[in-house]
Symmetry: C2
Subunit: 219 residues, 2 copies
Amino acid sequence: MSKVRVESFTISLDGFGAGPGQDLNNPLGVGGTALHAWAMTTRTFQRAVFGKEEGTTAGIDEAYAARGFANVGAWIMGRNMFGPVRGPWPDESWRGWWGEDPVYHAPVFVLTSHSRAPLVMAGGTTFHFVTTGIVAALEQAREAAQGRDVRIGGGVNVIQQYLRARLIDELHIAVSPVLLGAGERLFDGVDLPALGYACTRHESSPNATHVLLTRLDPP
Amino acid sequence: MSKVRVESFTISLDGFGAGPGQDLNNPLGVGGTALHAWAMTTRTFQRAVFGKEEGTTAGIDEAYAARGFANVGAWIMGRNMFGPVRGPWPDESWRGWWGEDPVYHAPVFVLTSHSRAPLVMAGGTTFHFVTTGIVAALEQAREAAQGRDVRIGGGVNVIQQYLRARLIDELHIAVSPVLLGAGERLFDGVDLPALGYACTRHESSPNATHVLLTRLDPP
C-alpha cells in the first residue's frame, strides 16, 4: 500500500512552520528562510532547488532530504504554498515559485477554492487545481502516483487538515534551532497522541533535530 | 551580576511543558513523566531526587542536569509546582512533593495568592510563600541568593510571566522525543524574538535535544 507522507517539514523551536507575513518576497514568511538552513546544506536541496552540484552528500541532513524525494509519485499542497495570489485567479500568469522546471517532477495537486486549468510545466511537473476538498485531492494523487507514495508538501493548514482526518501515515519533521515568535504553529489544535501518532525516531545534526512521527495501527 | 535562569525545563515535541490533569498521582500531569526520561538517566537527578548513586556521570544529559544546580542560590516556583492544593491552604499539612529533605537545599519562593508561614525543611530548604507578585518574589530571591543565581523552577505559567516581564536571562530547554497532545504549551502567547531571546546553543543526546535561549542585550 502506498503511503501518505510529510517530509522535510521544518518547524522552529517555538513550533512555527512558517513565519508571519508571507508575500512575494517572503514565500515562507518573515524569518522562514532561517528555518531551512539545515536543508540548504544538502546536495539534494541544492540540486533540486538551485540545480547546483553543491552541498554535502553525507550526514543525516542529506539522508532526510533525500528520503523526502524517494518513491514519491505525486504531491499535494495548499494554494498558499503554490503562490501568493489570493482569491479567484486573475489570470494564468502565476506559475509557482519554482521556475519553468519545478522541483517536483510529478503531478502536483493544489488545493484551492477557485478552479483553474491544469498547468503543464517542464520536467514532468503538472499542477492540477482541486476544488473538491482534501479527500478528493488525495484520491486523485493516489491514482496519479501509480503505487508510489503521496507527499503532502504543506503548508501548516493543509497538514493539519490531513492529520485531523487521519490520512497521513508518516511525518518527518525537522526542528531548527531558531525562534520565530509568530506565524502558524504546526501542532496547534492537533492532538497527535489522540490521533494515533507517536514519535518513532529521533536524531540530530548540528543544524536540526529530525523526528519521525508515525501513525500506529489501529489509530 | 547574578543571573535569573530556567534550567532543565522539558517540553514535548508538540510544545507542552506538562501534561493535562495534574493531581496527586500525576504531579507533572498525565504523560508528563515521560518528558523527563532524559533527566532520569543522569547521576545528578538520581542523586537529587532519589538519593541514589545511579545514572550516568558522563554525556550531555548529565552535563545539563548538573549545570542546573550549579551556582543556584535561590529558587522560585509556582504554587501548582509546590503541590496539588488549590485555593486557601486548609492547614499546613502539605509540605511539597519532595519529602522532608527536598532537592533544593536553598530558599524557595513559592508564588501564591494565599499567605502561609515559611516552611523550614531539612537540608537547607525553606519554602517562603510570596503573595505580592513575581517582581517582589524575584527581589526576595535575589537577596536570599547572596550573589548566586536565581533559578525559576516552573511551571509553564510562571515561566511565561517572567519571560513577558523580560526578567529571565537564560533558559535551558530540553525537547523530549515524545508527544503529549494536550496540556500547557511553554511558548503559547510568548513572542521570544520580540522579547529579545535567541537560540545560542543546540545539541542533542539520544534522549533529548538541549537548547539554550539567551536574552541578548539590549532586549
